[in-house]
Amino acid sequence: MKTTFDENAIDLTPSGKGYIATIGDKTVSVEIVHAENGKLDLLIDGNHVIAYVSSDGAKRWATINGQTFLLTRSSGTRRSGAGGEHASELAAPMPGQVRSVNVSEGEAVSKGQTLLVLEAMKMEIRIQAPRDGVVKELLVKVGQTVEREQILVKMDHG
């Protein structure tokens, strides 16, 4: 069975008491000693490893030896975030409230210019133009509450 996290494809094939895991040209044997409440007690090539894993939709949180990674399970096709060369969509990095909109539709903006300002956790977050271009569409108003990854502005980079 194949699982893909971000760009990494992991293949797990049942074998004996456990699995044979393959990532790229690396192959190891894996055995689950114990699994309970998000904690995995594993033997990887005979080495004892404790892993903590949680899931939230397509996201996987995994911690081994104090290091935590947020992995995204992908179904093969990768979502294109920026919308290609000539256009881009700017999304809210976190939930918050729109504090100011500093540009209007059709306005030419330069790279790094602040387009709008969000407020969250008493902090101000500036949404800036990633490249030179024109504001194609403004999808939010001052005072509006936005969700994480909600599209705020559509840009045209000609």
């Binding site: 992991i10 892993a51 397509a58 996987r60 290091q67 935590t68 976190m94 407020e119 956790m121 008493k122």
Partner: protein
């Protein structure tokens, strides 16, 4: 002694104060907002009163509602914690007028130090060195003029402020307008006051602060320093004591200046005198005084062996502080790491969500002050501090090693945290040599998250595999942990 104390705060500090109350046999009242109705601090208290909506102005910053809650529950004192109303003189006055005790300094001391302009003037008069700058100016033009005179870079900061909120570095004149607006707005939101002051920005400075403590009978001591130079966005993330930089002579000089500063405003209760320190010149300037309990107070508690919150309560009730300065010495070394829900790889943006796992480290001389548990919701309404991890060791090296081991045991899933980032700071030679300045994180420390290890990917894939197996074998399994990946087989959206 008080019989019942209302804690006008939330999160870890509310719980820490309630613990001190419980130890002293005092009943506790929590206040909470709608966003915090399932929070640990509300559960931990003997009684809990709903203040109102999530927005701080409707809840934790609402003086009338908090006083009403204290009256309603028959509390005889209020502890403000840090942040929110802790340095609001009108709040201290309102508490007094309501015939309740305020656990903190007098309203006059708060006012004298809270107004950064007034405090600078009185510190100069008392002979305490201050940072070059201007106070009591308003227009953008006046700020530009002042900046020109001081010389860029300058710092504009909330006159009523603290905790790094409402503060901006301005490198050049064309940044002034936006910086003033942003700082003013943050200041208004955080402190209800949008006045700003300007001063010279010292880029290579260390932040060293002194804990002071006094009673209402004129006894006042300092409890040594805390080195708080590891900062991002002007907010501390790692603090320690003793500072690796101070010689015994400097420590004594700065301690004396801290006591002078506190005495100049008739201070009692716990307070912190902050200094900027230039190690190349061994000069120090008074920066400000925080007239409240500090986030990082536990490191001081470890090395001087005093429970600061218990003593805050006792001196507020009129007890004498019985220990003279000569009774105190620093024993061993303590470090605090602030575990924030934020993404260091993405400009330290706060991260929100439900905590799927939250496993705190344990062991000898490891202390965790936290306000969250698995299942808690981290919302965007409040400061993203999840927990403070504090360790004690015989010396600095031992304390660093203990902190590294403790951080490795801290597991937080559901929000991104700065745990890996702090781990990298602790192992960096600059930190180990005590050479970290307040700008080090921004300018010198080029941290990038590591790629997930082979083992991590396998573990994540195995968890998915196990879910798939469970689904076919035992679709209705009743897992005790609702956030276990083994449970949510049918919940996948992708």
């Amino acid at each position: 002694m008080f019989k019942k104390i209302l804690i006008a705060n939330r999160g870890e500090i509310a719980i820490r104060i309630m613990r001190a109350c419980k130890e002293l046999g005092i009943r506790t009242v929590a206040v909470y907002s709608e966003a915090d109705k399932n929070s640990l601090h509300a559960q931990f208290a003997d009684e809990a009163i709903l203040l109102g909506a999530a927005a701080p102005k409707e809840s934790y910053l609402n003086i009338d509602k908090i006083i009403a809650a204290a009256k309603q529950t028959d509390a005889d004192a209020i502890h403000p914690g840090y942040g929110f109303l802790s340095e609001n003189a009108s709040f201290a006055t309102a508490v007094d007028s309501a015939k309740l005790a305020f656990i903190g300094p007098s309203a006059d001391s708060i006012r004298a130090m809270g107004d950064k302009a007034e405090s600078k003037i009185s510190m100069k008069k008392a002979g305490v060195p201050t940072v070059p700058g201007f106070e009591e100016i308003e227009s953008e033009n006046d700020f530009k003029k002042a900046a020109k005179e001081i010389g860029y870079p300058v710092l504009v900061k909330a006159a009523a402020g603290g905790g790094g909120k409402g503060m901006r570095i301005v490198n050049a004149e064309n940044e002034m307008k936006e910086s003033l607006e942003a700082a003013r707005h943050e200041a208004l939101n955080a402190f209800g006051d949008d006045r700003l002051l300007i001063e010279k920005y010292l880029p290579n400075a260390h932040h060293i602060e002194f804990q002071v403590f006094g009673d209402k009978h004129g006894n006042l001591v300092h409890l040594f320093e805390r080195e708080c130079s590891v900062q991002r966005r002007h907010q501390k993330i790692i603090e320690e004591t003793p500072s690796p930089l101070l010689s015994p002579e400097l420590r004594e000089q700065m301690g004396r200046a801290a006591v002078t500063a506190a005495k100049a405003v008739g201070y009692h209760n716990a307070g912190t005198v902050e200094f900027v320190f230039d190690p190349s010149l061994s000069t120090f300037y008074f920066l400000e005084m925080n007239t409240r309990l500090q986030v990082e107070h536990p490191v001081t508690e470890f090395v001087v062996g005093l429970d600061l919150v218990q003593w805050q309560i006792r001196v507020a009730a009129g007890e004498k502080f019985p220990f003279p300065q000569k009774d105190f010495s620093q024993r061993g070394h303590a470090i605090e790491c602030r575990v924030y829900a934020e993404d260091p790889a993405n400009g330290f943006l706060p991260s929100t969500g439900k905590l799927l796992q939250f496993i705190e480290p344990r062991g000898p001389n490891i202390r965790v002050d936290s306000g969250f548990a698995a299942g808690s919701e981290v919302t965007h309404f409040y400061d993203p501090l999840l927990a403070k991890l504090i360790v004690y060791g015989e010396n600095r090296e031992a304390a660093i090693q203990r902190m590294q081991a403790a951080l490795r045991e801290f597991v937080v899933h559901g929000v991104t945290t700065n745990i890996d980032f702090m781990q990298a700071v602790l192992s960096h030679p600059d930190f180990q040599n005590g050479e970290v300045t307040t700008r080090w994180v921004e300018t010198k420390f080029n941290w990038k998250p590591t790629e997930p290890s082979f083992e991590t990917l396998i573990a994540a894939a195995l968890a998915d595999q196990t879910i798939a197996n469970r689904k076919t074998q035992n679709a209705n399994s009743n897992e005790p942990d609702p956030y276990s990946p083994w449970k949510v087989a049918s919940g996948f959206r992708n």
